[in-house]
Symmetry: C2
């Protein structure tokens, strides 16, 4: 089974395509999608739509996982991320895939068995579970990988 | 010149199509787009995308105005509206129309000459400027009409 996991953002969006044969998990591809701050909001949002649609079309996953928003940052940032997240979820829905949402705590809990794990701990578990030479970077990409693993665990 | 103005929301979205011949303004059509709370977020967001795209396709306006977010409500509401607003702006951009954003204060200022006008005052000016038998209702629709007028004023 192949899935796509997306860590939403306006300027930086981590994504990961993971595959599972039931017992083990592997990373098919992951990356960071960036939209330039110089571009206006409509252009950045349609760029996100187009890239997300392109990823689904290329990899043909069977479901789509998106991380819930985390509200510790300032309101301006939360609004930017929420606008982009709306576009990501809508783009997922338009591809016809079932969309699953997980909170940051659910992801940490699933991957490390602790809802309060730090980034490094999550990163190390991602590296181990996906048998990678190092922790995926930057953080946005590692987060997408962790989200993808959480989603695969919850589908089992 | 014909324009579309949209007051963003997740559950309730006011929209208005206005026309201007340079001197006077008229309301072509306005309405309230609602998404059912029983539907999940992906479905509601793609419904919004589809309806907005349909309105542009039907009325063929030459530009698209969207209201900026107003942050007085709780964070959960702000996030819901922001996710929907992202979808609305992206949908507008995908139609190829230029997208304009105005703050609630800019709209009030443009329509009533006061940034602190109340809803009734804005509604009455909308009624007068568009020569309507009564204030458009509900508020979301009156707000969209006011936004549309603000946009037409600023294009002059």
């Amino acid at each position: 089974m192949k899935i796509i996991a997306v860590d939403p953002g306006l300027a930086r969006i981590g994504w990961a395509i993971l595959e599972s044969d039931g017992d083990s998990f592997s990373l098919v591809e992951c990356g960071l999608l960036q939209t330039p701050k110089e571009d206006n909001l409509p252009k950045r949002l349609s760029e996100i739509h187009s890239k997300i649609t392109g990823l689904v079309s290329k990899h043909k996953p069977s479901s789509f996982a998106v991380e819930e928003l985390f509200f510790s940052k300032n309101v301006k940032t939360a609004i930017d991320v929420a606008q982009a997240r709306g576009v990501i979820i809508m783009s997922a829905q338009l591809t016809g895939l079932p969309v699953y949402e997980y909170t940051p705590n659910q992801v940490k809990q699933a991957v490390t068995s602790s809802g309060s794990a730090d980034k490094l701990q999550v990163g190390k578990m991602v590296q181990m579970l996906l048998r990678l030479p190092k922790i995926p970077s930057p953080d946005d990409v590692a987060d997408a990988c962790a989200l993808g693993l959480c989603h695969l665990f919850s589908l089992r």
